[in-house]
Amino acid sequence: MIQLLRVDKVYEGGRWALKDINLHIKKEEFVFITGPSGAGKTTILKLIYLGDRATNGQILLFGRNLAILKRNSIPFLRRNMGVVFQDFKLLSDKTVFDNVAFALRILGTRKVELKTRVLETLKLVGLEKRSNEIASMLSGGEQQRVCIARAVVNEPALVLADEPTGNLDLDNANQVMDIFRALNLKGTTVVIATHNREMIEKTGKRTIILDSGNMAGENLPRQGDAL
């Protein structure tokens, strides 16, 4: 599904955010990426959803080489992924409903189906009663959940989530993890970047550890769990 081969990322200004990263994430896998602040977690996800290009190395995604991918193929690739951004990236003057619906509208989903699915997904994150409120008026945790709803509403083949529970209490965090696990069981590949050790340990999935842009280690999934 996702393959990183000797990937470097050097930002303008010369900061090495990633150094020689080799990584293979299989289809239907559930993977955590962890590491201290500034380790490069967000950067790895960014390279995968094509928010930026790698400085060196190859990235294969859905069997395509991102380094040579044409610009106008990007939107179609992205439609197969749902991304939860660390800073949410909600359309701040639109309603909760419109934010989540956008991911379906670009697919040309019919009005009735669109409405049903958006409301169903909002229910999953506990925001079904808030659908007509303006996104920027929600609390931090509520915004984060809208972002999660948008990422999963079209049941994508790949979900990338960056610190998806950073603003959530334990109950809400568990609920969100349940959503990801359920999707994963239905066949979605899930990659979560987080610093939350508790969550990682509880879930017991494969975990990739970064430090200052280097691969610092890897914990294999607990026995008895799926991939």
Binding site: Y49, G51, I74, F76, R78, M81, L90, L91, F102
Partner: protein, 301 residues
């Protein structure tokens, strides 16, 4: 799906217009004022141009008669007949001594007293002879002047192009200033619009960014911004034409009055329907271009 998208775009465009009210009001006002200035200058210039092209052909010769030539006398009739039959002559208009006196009184408001205290009417009677256009440079005209200057009832001649001449150079000065203004305002407007678009990009940049990250294609994202542009362009050009039209109607009396006094054969007119449509059309195109350009930068990568 196309219909679904179009109506979505229109709705989003209207929401954007409402949400970012001042930004869009400013853009509409800029478009509107630009069109207003261009409109005024164009109306003005077109009218002057049309009037000039008619007036410049009207070379006329004024033949002053001796005081003792009465308006029904043999000599008078002979001269009139001669003028009317002369090939280069288009129209002949007679002004009697009394007419000349009254004309003077009318044209020289404030000097009535001067004139009234003059005992004899000092103004001669005259024929104003308008020359056919294509004769203005020919031998017939020279001959006419020659003949008339020797005619015994004729006291003097005057080719009445005097004020018109001054007038022409003045008008050409005005038009030069107008076109200087148009050229410079035009350049400035292109810069303003270009930068206004860059500004729009900045204000919409994060939204566009997010839509792209969620998988929107370029044209899907552009859709609503193009609709926004169309609405802005239509409103902008429409508003300017409306204001222009109202101003025109309000000032109609004064403008046409002043205008017809100078160019009696020429009515002062507003844009034709075609021109109006053209202006509104270019407003719309400007809007579409704005929408496309403003999104292009963020859609690049």
């Amino acid at each position: 799906m196309l219909y679904r998208n179009l109506s979505f775009f229109l709705i989003e465009a209207l929401k954007n217009l409402k949400g970012n009210f001042y930004l869009h009001l400013t853009i509409i006002l800029i478009i509107s004022i630009s069109f207003f200035i261009f409109g005024t200058l164009l109306i003005f210039d077109t009218n002057i141009d049309r009037a000039l092209s008619s007036i410049s052909k009207d070379l006329s010769l004024v033949v002053f008669l001796k005081d003792d030539v009465a308006s029904g006398s043999e000599d008078f009739l002979k001269l009139k007949k001669f003028l009317l039959n002369y090939p280069a002559v288009k129209v002949v208009h007679y002004t009697s001594r009394l007419d000349a006196y009254l004309d003077f009184k009318k044209n020289f408001k404030g000097y009535e007293k001067v004139v009234e205290e003059i005992e004899d009417n000092p103004f001669p009677s005259s024929f104003e002879v308008r020359i056919k256009e294509n004769y203005s440079n020919k031998k017939e005209l020279a001959d006419l002047i020659s003949i008339l200057s020797k005619w015994k009832s004729v006291e003097g001649l005057s080719l009445s192009k005097d004020w018109v001449n001054h007038f022409f150079s003045f008008i050409s000065l005005i038009r030069m200033v107008i076109w200087l203004l148009v050229a410079l305002i035009g350049t400035g407007l292109i810069l303003i619009i270009y930068n206004g678009i860059k500004l729009t990009i900045h204000s919409k940049g994060s939204q566009i960014e997010i839509m792209k990250l969620v998988g929107g294609t370029n044209w899907f994202i552009r859709g609503q911004f193009i609709f926004e542009g169309i609405i802005e362009g239509l409103l902008g050009s429409g508003m300017s034409l409306l204001v222009l039209y109202l101003a025109y109607n309000l000032m109609f009396q004064k403008i046409t009055g002043a205008f017809s006094f100078i160019f009696p054969q020429q009515a002062f007119s507003f844009f034709s329907v075609n021109d109006t449509l053209l202006l509104i059309g270019s407003g719309t195109i400007l809007g579409i271009l704005g929408g496309v350009l403003s999104t292009t930068k963020y859609l690049k990568n």
